[in-house]
């Protein structure tokens, strides 16, 4: 039973399994189990292309946020303000679109607002210096206040066919929003795995001392990471605005931060930093999305939905942990 394996052989050519990672394998298993359950409960609709597209649309916003959050967590930080930034950016979009009568101008302004809000987070964290959790908790509250102030707490309807087209248009049968998600995913995967900056972020979160001694400009990195996170939130805001055709100061964005963090952790991020993958986060997002969709389709009552969500979240992590222990990582 005991065979001698040399250290090098074990690891050399990253097999498919190795690439995906034991952790992701178990997330994949969890996802497949969920799909099987809901597929069996609603064989008539669950696997129709239309429903799968619905799932995709439903997770677009969460997916974008979860990927950005993954990068932030890997760098050793946390961004609790993303939900507020989503709301703020939709309001900026709506106001500017209204004032200028131009949707593109509104979109640009919304994206810019997200970038600036994120950079503000980064500046506070770096030059405060303030613990990232507190800083973004603070700006979560402040950005939400700003978003409310823009129209006295009310949402702002947006009229404009170009935005509408963005919200309901399709390309090769897939809605734009899903293409956006796919593009974002590709960009994030390449960024974290194949670029020098991406790898340096793992260093930053994994061991700040080494990163500092290696001459990585930590402050500039941190500010940029939070600015990126704010920008991603604004992109998510753009999706939200195009789906709801309105600037929403809070609705649809409250609680998003917690869901994004949940997905990232479910996907294998460690809050200490230095660890986590985009693919894992997206699997986490899909699990949450399929769960929500399946429960809507099977009309599970609200209170049982809460129970089921909680239980499933925990179960998914237990399966994952067991798998990892078995694979001896």
């Amino acid at each position: 039973m005991t065979d001698t394996v040399t250290a090098t052989r074990e690891r050399a050519p990253a097999s498919l399994f190795g690439r995906i990672g034991a952790q992701n394998i178990s997330l994949l298993i969890a996802l497949v189990v969920l799909l099987a359950i809901f597929g069996a409960l609603r064989p008539d609709v669950f696997f129709t292309p239309r429903n799968l597209i619905n799932i995709g649309l439903a997770v677009t916003i969460l997916g974008i946020l979860a990927m950005a959050q993954t990068v932030v967590i890997v760098s050793g930080g946390l961004d609790i303000s993303v939900g507020s930034i989503v709301g703020l950016s939709t309001m900026v979009l709506a106001v500017v679109a209204q004032e200028t009568g131009s949707i593109p101008a509104g979109i640009l302004a919304g994206l810019l607002a997200g970038l600036v809000a994120g950079a503000v987070n980064g500046l506070i964290i770096v030059y405060g210096p303030v613990n990232a959790v507190i800083a973004t908790l603070g700006t979560m509250s402040a950005f939400r206040g700003l978003a409310y102030l823009m129209n006295n707490g009310n949402s702002i309807p947006i009229t404009g066919d170009s935005l509408r087209a963005l919200g309901i248009g399709t390309l090769f049968g897939l809605p734009f929003a899903i293409w956006l998600l796919i593009a974002a995913m590709a960009a994030f995967i390449v960024f974290t795995r194949e670029t020098v900056v991406g790898r340096n972020i793992y260093a930053l979160g994994g061991n700040p001392t080494v990163a500092r001694l290696a001459g990585i400009p930590i402050r500039r990195y941190q500010i940029s990471i939070y600015a990126m996170s704010g920008f991603a939130a604004a992109v998510a805001g753009l999706v939200l605005a195009s789906r709801t055709m309105s600037g929403q100061p809070a609705s649809g964005s409250q609680g998003l931060e917690l869901e994004a963090i949940t997905a990232a952790i479910l996907g294998g991020c460690a809050l200490q930093g230095g660890k986590g993958t985009i693919v894992g986060a997206m699997l986490g997002v899909l699990i949450i999305g399929v769960l929500n969709n399946g429960m809507i389709l099977t009309s599970v009552p609200t209170f049982y939905q809460l129970l089921a969500k909680g239980a499933l979240l925990i179960l998914a992590v237990i399966v994952q942990e067991r798998q990892r222990a078995r694979s001896g990582e």
């Binding site: 394996v5 050399a12 260093a203 994994g206």
Partner: protein, 506 residues
């Protein structure tokens, strides 16, 4: 004569109550290996941190090529060609070996994408130089590497072209003889290339073998700066300690008591069929190469790794630890090999660290008695001559050697029946080493059963009553002290050459 590559002039540095450096002036010349020795806490690492721009000196200045420079950050120091290999190796767990080595200097294609081929090529070259290609592969994640491998990575990280001054802060403290020799070859080559080298170590033999010149520090001051030819071990020790040091080892017959710890055919995921006994008053040595599985034996004994088969007894009673708590309760103490990760609460005070395992002695009905705690801790700290401004000092701010003494103080306060020492003198100065050897001997004389894991041959041969040698997760032989010699131990440790780096996987 040209100006020295780097020199410090009248540098002083104070931390709170501690004067870590006082008025130190040293010049480091191209193509010269300058050894830096001194007791624990003498200020060696502090001087390195000044050179690397981590600390700013309170007074005095640093000159590069004869010109004063402001070293405000490690980046600035790197810019001046100064690199330091740190005493406590640091790695980034989720990155690969190659990425860890070249972090900060990863080349990019198109200015953005990392060039994995280049990374692999460059790291294979370095791994080859150190002869560890078969243990470390460039694409391997660094998560879970042993201290020795971490240290090798730390060393390789500093070996970049363009370095003009390279400082090694105790690079060999967790390396084996073999790996150390390879390192020396690298250092000699650097010297031939005209690099100025600083070499800090507590192993005086290495220094005589390697260095051209030796600077001795004591209590933050430079007390000697002489060519190596003018020194011998005895004089070095005298200069360092400021007083004569007794012989390192006093071999004497001990009266052995009953069996305190017995392992019978113990097998875990990493070791196989381990059987031995340790009696009261006995010091059993456990030798072998890095990765032979000695630490894993200790882990099994304290309940960290579950037994797959076999059994253990303590004091004759069956002993089945599920948790280290069971080991402590059964009277087993462990001084782990990695003090930073496994032994010390770095942010907390010396007091908290020492009293951690003796809650019963410093409390009544679960409530602390600060008075008793202070008295107890102060006594043990003084007994071991831990150099600290107060027992409230955060342990992380002590010098490496003094940190290790704190770990000893902890177990001395507890007074266990069995003590397992994993590399107990890693990074400890000669003076303190002698003290710790005395301590180990006196503990044995008091009837403790001691299992001593060590890669320092003299220590193993000088202290142990008998030496067990491990190889690839098994015990390959046993030598009574009379027969134990370096050659005999090595012969057992390396019986089948390369196999040492192979793992038994069940």
């Amino acid at each position: 004569m040209t100006a020295p590559v780097v020199s410090v002039e009248n540098v002083s540095k104070r931390f709170g109550a501690v004067q870590a450096l006082r008025d130190v002036s040293i010049a480091f010349n191209a193509g010269e290996i300058t050894a830096l020795i001194g007791e624990n806490g003498a200020g060696k690492s502090t001087l390195m941190r000044v050179l690397e721009g981590e600390h700013r000196p309170d007074t005095g200045r640093v000159l590069v090529d004869g010109h004063p420079v402001q070293l405000t950050s490690p980046r600035a120091a790197h810019g001046s060609g100064i690199r330091v290999i740190h005493q406590e190796p640091e790695i980034i767990p989720e990155l690969t070996v190659a990425e860890n080595i070249f972090i900060g200097d990863i080349r990019a294609r198109g200015g953005i994408f990392l060039d994995r081929a280049d990374l692999e090529r460059r790291s294979l070259e370095l791994l080859g130089t150190f002869g560890v290609v078969d243990v470390l592969s460039p694409g391997q994640r660094c998560h879970g590497l042993s201290p020795a491998l971490r240290q090798l990575i730390e060393i390789m990280r500093a070996l970049r072209p363009g370095a003009r001054l390279l400082a090694f802060d105790e690079p060999t403290s967790s390396l084996t003889e073999d790996e150390a020799q390879r390192l020396f070859r690298v250092i000699r080559r650097l010297k031939a290339d005209g690099v100025a080298v600083i070499y800090i170590s507590h192993r005086l033999r290495e220094i005589i073998e390697l260095a051209d010149r030796c600077v001795v520090m004591r209590d933050g001051s430079r007390v000697a700066d002489e060519p190596i030819a003018a020194l011998d071990e005895q004089r070095m020790v005298r200069l360092m300690v400021g007083r004569p040091v007794s012989d390192l080892f006093n071999r004497r017959e001990r009266a052995l008591g009953p069996v305190r710890l017995a392992l019978e055919d113990v097998t875990t995921r990493r070791v196989e069929g381990i059987s031995f006994e340790v009696r009261a008053g006995e010091i059993v040595g456990l030798g072998g190469l890095v990765g032979a599985g000695r630490t894993e034996v200790a882990r099994a004994i304290v309940g960290l790794d579950p037994l797959l088969s076999g059994k253990m007894t303590v004091g004759g009673q069956p002993y089945k630890p599920r948790e280290p708590a069971d080991a402590v309760a059964a009277g087993i103490g462990l001084v782990p090999e990695d003090r930073k990760q496994e032994a010390l609460l770095l942010m907390q005070a010396v007091r908290d660290n020492v009293s951690l395992v003796v809650p019963d002695k410093v409390s009544r009905y679960g409530f602390f008695s600060r008075r008793r705690e202070r008295a107890l801790v102060a006594r043990h700290v003084a007994e071991l001559r831990v150099k600290t401004p107060s027992i409230e000092q955060a342990v992380g701010k002590l010098s490496g050697g003094n940190q290790q003494k704190v770990v000893f103080a902890r177990w001395q306060a507890r007074g266990p029946a069995v003590l397992i020492l994993d590399e107990p003198t890693r990074g400890i100065d000669v003076g303190a080493k002698a003290e710790i050897y005395r301590l180990i001997e006196s503990l044995a004389d008091q009837g403790l059963a001691i299992l001593l894991i060590s890669s320092e041959m003299p220590e193993l041969l000088g202290l142990a009553d008998r030496v067990l040698v491990m190889q690839s997760g098994r015990i390959s032989g046993e030598l009574p002290w009379q027969e134990a010699s370096e050659e005999a131990v090595l012969a057992l440790a390396m019986r089948s050459g390369k196999e040492t780096i192979e793992r038994k996987v069940s």
